[in-house]
Amino acid sequence: MMAEPLRLPYRLLRGRLSPVVRVILFHNRAYALESAYVDTGAAYSIFTPDVAEELSMDWRSGYPTSITGLEGRRVILFLHSVGLRIGDFHIRAEVGFSDQLGIGFNLLGRHSIFNQLQFCFNDRDGELLVSRL
């Protein structure tokens, strides 16, 4: 029997409910409490470099990769393996750090997260249902 999915409330931003959730990032003993926009279309999760610095990580030492946005702008990011906690779920995932994203939010994308957790968006009730795969 599948466990009941975890219900995470959306955030009310600029008058609309948005799938922005609380994410805890771990690295060694350090951790950071961040908000991230859950984006099913994003290939990678992207956080700002100061989050990596808070976790005492050299963000540029990660595996470099390039991504592109809809407007075709290329963005370099550096992938690192970190511990993530979303709701009650603890996972190990590869997230990217970049100073070139150009939006205020951190992004929670598919790479190494959506293969461990299942996200179901309920825009009517403003809830994100999360369950472990």
Binding site: P9, R11, L12, L13, R14, G15, R16, S18, R22, R29, A30, Y31, A32, L33, E34, S35, Y37, D39, G41, A42, A43, Y44, I46, T48, P49, D50, E53, E54, S56, T65, S66, I67, T68, G69, L70, G72, R74, V75, D88, L101, I103, G104, F105, L107, G109
Partner: protein, 140 residues
Amino acid sequence: MNAKLSKARARKARETRVAYRVRRKPRAIKPRVVRPLVRKTAAHVSPSVPWEERVAPTDQQLMEWDAWLNEHEPEFEEKYPGHYLAIWDRQIIAKTERRAEIYPLAHQAMPHVIPLITYVPRPGEMDMVPSVFPVEWSRR
């Protein structure tokens, strides 16, 4: 005798050099400009308080803070558009428009806690398409 001669030559050469410089760069000696003191932004330093001694919010607290954030979002959007906020115990302990400054400011305000960092979007900022794709998918 030779030493005296070479000393005189050296002196002459020195004088010639000085004269040459003055002739070439009459404004070589510029008046001293007093520059305004620039306060550098605080560089990020790792927290001096060890992680074991820092207080983290409980799940219950985080849920309460989420509700509080949703409740006060219109007020924050009016007061702090484009700002990053560090939240602890339903209070804003630090706010800044520069992402790189939020952790140093939060540590300065409350060094013993692990704050929740959140962002207040500007008008129209939620009408975004943030999705990013692997670069191999881009059209050449």
